[in-house]
């Protein structure tokens, strides 16, 4: 194969890559829209609810829900960036170690999700109380939904990412031998 054969599509490829960059920027913008437009809407909604009812519960619930959304949106943006742009120019061992971290089911940086979820739980609970439902019902619903999500996530991880992570761990061990 000649160099020419390799290079013929370079301009086309560059165009494709620039398009991918634009798509990435669009998704990041969409996430930004979520927390720069959707969240202010929630703030207005909470303020109106509070001014109508003068209930501190509505205020706490609304603020908790807004903060919960914000934390989860910011965490999601960070995750998306890390997954979209893997740095292949790192030394091989470092790149592989980062990959094993990326593919582990529970990560230290994911701890930010917990306060986000707790705040959403608080917001949802106050909302349900306002509608006359019990705290127990809201907790069963919320924790059940979280547990269901975690189980589905773990099943996907076990079949899709664990085998990949195991192979990468083998490579890391071999390099470090």
């Amino acid at each position: 194969m000649t160099a020419h054969e390799f290079d013929t599509n370079l301009s086309k490829l560059t165009g494709k890559l620039k398009k991918e960059d634009r798509q990435y920027a669009t998704i990041v913008k969409a996430i930004q829209i979520f927390y720069w437009i959707f969240i202010p809407v929630f703030i207005v909604k909470t303020a109106r609810q509070y001014s109508d009812s003068q209930s501190i519960n509505d205020l706490i619930g609304g603020v908790a829900l807004i903060l919960g959304f914000l934390i989860i949106a910011l965490t999601f943006r960070k995750y998306y960036k890390d997954y979209q742009y893997v740095d292949y120019s790192l030394p091989t061992l470092e790149m592989l170690k980062k990959a094993t971290y990326r593919y582990q089911p529970f990560q230290k940086r994911g701890v930010w999700i917990i306060p986000g979820l707790l705040l959403m739980d608080v917001g949802l609970t106050f909302d349900w109380i306002r509608e006359g439902k019990s705290v127990l019902d809201s907790q069963v619903f919320f924790l059940g939904a979280i547990l269901f999500g975690v189980i589905i996530g773990l099943v996907i991880w076990y079949f899709k990412y664990k085998p990949l992570r195991d192979k990468i761990l083998d490579l890391v061990r071999e390099i470090e031998q």
Partner: protein, 170 residues
């Protein structure tokens, strides 16, 4: 310089290096092209992180070797290391005068090709970089281990290959 201009400069200055790595890992022309494209994609994606801490050639080799380990076109465990008898640094694997002469024999070359393909993925990566003429220090910078560690690993690979090929001659 825009990202696109920087990218094109890197590809034109290092195209041969990338193509060589792709040839080492794929016997099939289509697979070579696929991997070449994937290396270019990863160069583009990693371009923003280039700080000039290492030589551009080392940086490019890192992207190429790392892509070969994660190449989505085919499972890396099935990847073969393809060497040609005219590869400049081929004799560096077997720096034994007697074996160098014998290497000219086609049978021994085929055997060597076979043995190279028995190597682990990491050993194949080390050998491909050695065949590219990189120094131990440069290989260490690409893989991310110490120079001493690279020397030990390459010495072990060479010893194993020599031992196996000696056996072939007896």
């Amino acid at each position: 310089m825009t990202k696109e201009e920087k990218f094109k400069t890197i590809v034109s200055d290092n195209g041969e290096r990338i193509r060589n790595i792709c040839r080492y890992y794929n016997s099939n022309v289509e697979d070579q092209k696929d991997m070449y494209q994937e290396v270019l994609v990863n160069i583009w994606k990693s371009l923003d992180s280039f700080r000039g801490d290492s030589a551009m050639s080392t940086w490019v080799y890192r992207v190429a070797v790392n892509t070969s380990l994660t190449f989505t076109g085919k499972a890396f465990r099935h990847m073969k290391l393809m060497v040609n008898s005219d590869t400049t640094n081929l004799n560096s694997i077997l720096d034994d005068e007697n074996l160098k002469q014998k290497l000219a024999e086609e049978k021994l070359f085929d055997r060597m090709q076979l043995e190279l393909n028995q190597l682990s993925v990491i050993d194949k990566a080390l050998i491909s970089l050695m065949l590219e003429g990189l120094s131990m220090k440069e290989i260490a910078e690409v893989i991310g281990i110490t120079e001493a560690n690279v020397k030990v690993k390459i010495h072990r690979i060479k010893s194993q290959l020599k031992e196996k090929l000696k056996g072939e001659q007896l």
